[in-house]
Amino acid sequence: MAEHPPITSQPVTRREVLARSGLGLGWLGAASLLADEARATTEAGGGVPSTLAPRPPQFPARARAVIHIFANGGPSHLDTFDRKVALERYAGKEIPNSLKTERRTGAALPSPFAFQRYGESGLEVSELFPSVARHADRLCVVRSMHADVPNHEPSLMLMNCGDARLVRPAAGAWVTYGLGTENQNLPGFVAMCPGGYPIKGTENWRSAFLPGAFQGTYVDTKKRRVDELVQYVSHPVLDRDTQRRQFELTTSLDRRHLAARARDPGLEARLSSMELAWRMQAEAGEAVDVSRESKHVRERYGDDIQGRQMLIARRLVERGVRYVQVWHGEGQPWDSHDHIEKNHRRLAKESDRAIGALLDDLVGLGLLESTLVLWGGEFGRTPTVELPNDAGVKVASGRDHNHHGFTVWLAGGGVKGGTVHGATDEFGFKAVENRMHVHDLQATMLHLLGLDHERLTYRHSGRDFRLTDVHGHVVSDLIA
């Protein structure tokens, strides 16, 4: 940890600064916040050291931000980015290497979608993602992902928190812990999910034993009004100026209270989080307000839920938010156990255009270089058809969960574009070539962010924890 002194479990930096300043806690309210609120709220950082203050990476980073587009429920790799002609030959027939998944499956189910080659790389992408495919030469498609079990809950936990079962912090929490965040007026880690929570809810973006400041902030992007998007973002009665003077009074009272109780990290954290809350009121509202974009831009993304939230993702990254998760929707929308043709077509139609526009803009704004985009689910789906069952599948027309092999793609942030890494077997059931476990993906992503997954640790309950626990390898083949 010697290379990375700012990472500690206590906000000592803050205390040290306070001690050095000789101003005590009063400095916080008066100097930086209240006397000149306008400056404090618009200048990134605001000059207040905190647990979220930006920190240098452990070594030069390729990416400074992450957008994780989570196709929750488990999108089928076989119908999107991993074409398998063998399934056509075996249509309706048993395949030789059927593996165990959550439920019983039967014969091979060929993809109902047409594939086409794109770009100079000739990357094969199905008709579901034409807009994403325009960026084929920027995508690094990992076709050899694998996870541990074919169930949503543990797989979500593994993908987000690096452990299927135990209470561990989310990757976004680890990254903001490691790097802080660039805009102190916004949360460092934002999780957007329209209409409610995905399966496992807020556990997907929890901070667990890391300080609460690193927990993902949830935004329900089904909502349209700014005050609905960010809960309690404005006072129901008071205007901002009036409320500012009220807030000043609270701060003055707190200052007196804290003066007699110095060194209490809990109280200090509370004070800084109040400051952050105050500044969030202004900036968070502005950041999520897509009406500030031109009509033309909004139309490029699509004036719908996915379009709006992908646009918000761009606005957040533009403003220095470190880690943004964009979930497709509440529950597990991509979980097409049946009628996969209809359901996957609908889900892709909802999101393709918005993702394409997001990539367009990141390229156009020069942000893609430093923004690592990840698209994928918690696992993929079986090449075999799910048989009718008690769980609601009446017609054999979909695919079961498949953790043995699935696909994610990355773009920007230092990954090698126009490449395919690894492969599944002939039928797409299992990753066989250059297999890449979720731990490896996480290790590689941290690496791109300038963090060594083995050295980004946090001491808790008597031992050093890390995102990848005792696993994970950086896969250098992915890195440009």
């Binding site: 609460g212 109780r261 109280l267 105050w278 008597g462």
Partner: protein, 958 residues
Amino acid sequence: MCIARQSGLAIALVALGAGSAAAAGPDPSAFFETRVRPLLVAKCQGCHGAKIAEAGLRLDSRPALLAGGQTGPVAIAGDVAHSRMIAAVRRTGEIDMPPDEPLAPDEVVVLEQWVAAGLPWTGPGSGTGDDPQPAAGPPDMQARLRQAMASHWSLQAPGRPAPPPVPEAFLPELQADWSRSATDRFLAREIAAAGLVPSPEAAPRELVRRLYFDLTGLPPPAAEADAFCRDPSDETYAALVETLLASREHAEHWARKWLDLARYADTMGYAFDGQASGYPFAWTYRDWVVRALYEDLPYDRFVTLQLAADLVEPPVPPADLAALGFLTVGRTFLGNPHDIIDDRIDLVTRGLLGLTAACARCHDHKYEPVTMADYYALHGIFASCSIPEELPVIGDPPAGPEAEAFAHKMQSLEERLQAHERAVHQRATREAIAHAADYLMETARPLPRPDGRPPRLADGYEIEQLLVDRLVRTVDGAKADHPILGPWAAVRRLPDGEFALVVAQLLAGWEAAGAPGVSGAVRDALLSARPTNPRELADAYARVIQRSHAAEGKPEDTAELLEIRAAFTTPGAPLVVEPHEAMRVARREEQTEHRKRRRDITAHQATAPGGPPRAMVLHDQGPRDSRIFLRGSPDRPGDVVRRRLPELLGGAEVDRQASGRLELAQAIVAPANPLAARVLVDWVWRHHFGSGLIATPGDLGLRGEPPSHPELLDDLARRLVEEGAWSLRWLHREIVTSRAWRQSAAIRPELAAADPDNRLLARANRRRLDWEAWRDSLCAAAGALDLAAGGGPGIDPLAAERMHVRSLYARLDRQDVPGLLRTFDIANPDTAVHVRTRTTVPQQGLAALNAPLVVEAARRLAARATTEAGGGGDAAFVERLWRAALSRPPTTEEQELALTWLAAEAARTPAASPAPGQASDSSPTDKPRQPTPAKEAFGLRERLTQAVLATAEFEFVD
């Protein structure tokens, strides 16, 4: 096994000659020792060895390798293609091994060569008899268990450590104070050992506030705080502790903590579209917990009732059946029985015993002495229980319009059910009359039908045995002179030829001499039919029966026909299906409809408000043992395991005739089990001090951390049972009267340096209020809280009109917990939570600044303080505000600050200024009555009030 071993060895010996030359070189021993054994040790035996044998497989001896694991053999000597071990390391089979990091290609080749060579194994593990330990067989969990039982701290009976003397390094006064309680003396020794001294007692004002929040979750009324501060003696303190411990508010506060552990919620979780997901009576469990704590039910009884209230002797009053909600208020996982059982096993083992048994669902526990057999023995216990369709009523329905609506709907649903039953029995009667001849013919059979089953007739009608039996009894009982049945009874069984003769004679007699004593209708029918066989006679009877039935209430009715009806078709007669018999003769679709209407009734009882409260019980049903599910998969059933206690609790088998819940409960709280008391002591301690004696609550196993103060934990655990008789109140008293608990929370520099995490407890921990206490404080400060309110169906905790009800009584939908509650770290209702996580995030700040709940509290508190201040002006208002919000008067400095602020604000907004003579805008109390612009409805005093409610002091307890 023995034969297999020998043959495997034989193959190996044969193969050694052939394969080894090519693959392993001339010296199989060297190949094994230099290439294979290191690989097995480094990559395999960590999980497949003597300590841990994943999937029952050990790879530390040749016999064990050949025997394989739970899923069968993994290697066949000489057969690379069919050795699953090779498929696993090649990662082409069903499982990949090693699970994380694949073997290097050359390592895979080594194993391939080894298998091809016939698995040559030399030296230890070769199975040739020179092994130091038995090489084959299942993992030696017994050894692990024995060792744990003999030496692991949490499994030893609590010792009787003598409380050490108070360190001499302490000043005399401190020595005196800290010598009185054993708890303090144990803590003092460790504090002194670190070269530290304890902190002084918290200031009375801090202490009384802490005590109130700790014991009741509510702030002290300012007057109570004042009273204590006037006389903060030990006696006053002790008396206050007793008062608070005996209060309902105390029971409510700690009930909520217990509900965290019981993963309480009012819904079953995710439900398919259109299905109700609510638990309408979960609250009966919540209210039971409050009552149990209020009555200080001893913990052993408390636990026993929650696991087996329906099984204890003597039986408990119905109200106590609500305790079983402990088991039943969990998530239902879309009805997956194994996940429901798993949830209950985790609840009981981790929640009550501090054991992480859930791992053993898929494999023997890697670290703990808990086997799959232990898990599935518990599985059987819970698989032998089910939730009855109709939950037992445990009280009277509430009064009021809801109850009336409930009763009204109930009545109409019951009528619908009765109407259906009526339709069925009428249909059955109608059809029976139409088939009267067939029924009569059934009475002509000399013997019962050989298969005992009523026949289906050509028209599809099925004879109802119920009616046949009745008619047979009637006919058999009729004498020959019976006016109606006499002729039939006399001749029904005659053979056709004789029948014709006899009947002809009879009819001739009637024609000659009349038919005295015979029903005229029967006589006329027979004379006109002149039957020659029983069937013709039965048909003639049937026509009379049907004519009489049809004639009822019509002009053609006669006394004769009435007589026929009375014999066959009026209620009570043989061909009539009685209402209560409807379901015995119902057709399949009628039965389905009947079930549906019954379900409507139970659903109404269960879901509609206004009904009588019911207990969320489960009861024993068809006790059965479970099979082990290999790797946790119900598709791969293994051996049956008898229902029994976990080995750690003695492993005794339970009553074959019952589920075993009662024995499980009794074993958990048995004096011989040291886990329950330790888990409980840590749990209570943790909530009082803000940190536990065990760093890993819910895990007292081999992998858990040892306690920070083992002797203190033992002392409290033992005395809780021996002195306190499992009284939680005893334990609370023991803790809050200790000097340690009463210390100041100030962080002295030397403590920050030497013990930053405060493991030694040389000071108190300053803590943020949890969600419930924060909201309750807002409601209390607002003057809204009604301490008598609460109980019954849950409320919306964010609704302004529910501010009189404590947060405990919120309805909690586990699928949709409001964001504000999550922001304030409420417990995840899907798992037993010993301790909530505590985060500090800006969303909490946003809530304090902007949440409607806070704004409403500010409005009401401003009104309250204004009223209480009377004509005292702003100074009196500020005084009242501080006292209501923070249980103390403002300091002079604060008073000045507030008044200056009010004045400045008033000057800034002259338009909002009140009538002349007042320093601030007009009293809010007269405002709500007239419509005012929103801004004015939140005037200066309201704004000042909210500023105080948003302070750190309001939200933290020193």
